[in-house]
Symmetry: C2
């Protein structure tokens, strides 16, 4: 089969064998915003060229959103493989070509504000086999919109989102905080940890953000340290607000970002475990198995 993770700004595809092992992988910048309405079929054909006869195609991510190929309704939590497989919707093109899109998930936080995800649910499904016996776990999927999910008995019980990655990006690119920051980012110098500690001090996030400016102006944080310091402040605030007080945090995501969250959780005295960043391929494999079985 072919497993596709089609997000806002990136496209990833995996060719899998009958046991779900990755035979080949591809990635490009052809995210849904770069492709746009009406162009998805030809974009998919181009991205998968040469992978003919590779079997069914399953896709997850923002390709199932209103801005994607076909809007696939959110499935309500708690949800596991069965609920997600039932929500798969097909898209068709050309001479009988077809692919399936995985639905996203919706739940409500304690104050009944909606939470939504598209793509992360499939990564979590792919990671289930690596979770502790019984399938109870806390997962964190860092990113533009970080997700913290609670898994119970192999199903996604609930999840919470923090706009950490996007806040970092817009503050760095568009606020006064970015003025002194060099383009390259190197988190090896301890300033990321300084930001994490800062997040634990009083005054709140909006106050801590200003300190990035003032410490930069006073030369207390070198220019190369300002972006890691800001990153540490934001990730520190996210973890302080959303990490459970105890228990292992299972991390899925891009290697470099996951490594930062590992460091952040360690500074906070928490234990983390890094799961396969290609979990999405395994998730799509399991959903395809459920689809054909069901």
């Amino acid at each position: 089969m072919i497993a596709v993770d089609w997000g806002t700004s990136s496209f990833r595809a995996y060719r899998l064998d009958a046991a779900g092992r990755i035979l080949e992988r591809r990635a490009s910048a052809a995210g849904i915003l770069a492709v746009g309405e009406g162009g998805f079929a030809s974009a998919l054909e181009a991205e998968l060229s040469g992978w003919n006869d590779a079997g069914p195609i399953l896709m997850s991510g923002m390709i199932g959103s209103r801005q994607g190929w076909r809007e696939v309704p959110y499935v309500a939590c708690p949800a596991g493989i069965a609920e997600l497989a039932r929500g798969l919707l097909p898209v068709e093109w050309g001479d009988g070509r077809r692919a399936w899109i995985v639905p996203g998930l919706v739940c409500r936080d304690d104050a009944s504000v909606p939470e939504i995800m598209r793509g992360e649910e499939t990564q979590i499904i792919g990671a289930l086999a690596a979770l502790p016996e019984g399938g109870d776990a806390i997962l964190c999927l860092p990113g533009t919109h970080s997700k913290w999910a609670t898994v119970r008995g192999g199903r996604i019980l609930s999840f919470t989102t923090a706009m950490t990655g996007e806040a970092f990006a817009v503050l760095r690119r568009h606020s006064i905080l970015g003025r002194l920051m060099p383009d390259e980012m190197d988190e090896s110098d301890g300033w990321f940890e300084a930001g994490l500690r800062r997040a634990g001090e009083g005054g709140g996030l909006l106050h801590h953000l200003f300190g990035v400016r003032s410490r930069g102006l006073f030369g207390e944080v070198p220019e190369a340290g300002l972006a890691p310091y800001l990153s540490g402040i934001l990730i520190g605030h996210e973890i302080a607000a959303l990490a459970p007080p105890s228990g292992v945090v299972h991390l899925i995501g891009a290697i470099r970002l996951v490594a930062l969250y590992e460091r952040a959780l360690r500074v906070g005295g928490r234990v983390s475990r890094v799961l396969d960043p290609d979990a999405v391929a395994g998730g799509l494999f399991r959903l395809e198995a459920a689809r054909t079985a069901g």
Copy 2:
């Protein structure tokens, strides 16, 4: 005399009589970024044209920063009229023309991170006469970088900054949160208050930001309500982190923004008092009096 409040993106000038009363006022968009190095003398001449023989010129704000006309060293807190007047530095141009620039203030927060202001110290000096007997008060100056200052015995003891206004602007203009927001902003519909209440719920600011997106997508907050809702979340977080638990908060700033802070403080059960938004003119008048006396 002529009192000038010269900031990053705006220029305001007041012609005052010998008792400090405002005779005439001017405002333009000729902030220091729009003018730039080498252009300050001619910009000032142009802005003040016709106000010849109006007496000495005092200026406060970012005009005294590294990007301004002349960098005037920060004065350390606690500081009052005497310390600020001693820190005044002149700029000279043309045929013996001269103006004085007010220094900014610096202090340290509880974690020893530097706090800086340029311009607000002069507004606070101008507001001293309106403060309770003895000159002890909490002041809040909302804006791009909101300031919370503690005044004791008529001197500025310490202050704290929150990047609230700038965070609002960059999130609205450059993040996904702005996508559904109309250009015009109307805070009359209760969504600002909904944002304030949201700030009091669990999950932290980065989580609450994402809820602006999800509630917008689900139609739970109408498009016209999204910017006020975001504004309420940010101001609510600022106040929760920085407002003292009790006591009157004295507000100085633009009328519309100060009205939002009044509403926010009221929702939080706090009492506020709005001071003269032209306090900067009175501050420059008092500093000029101290300069000529000293």
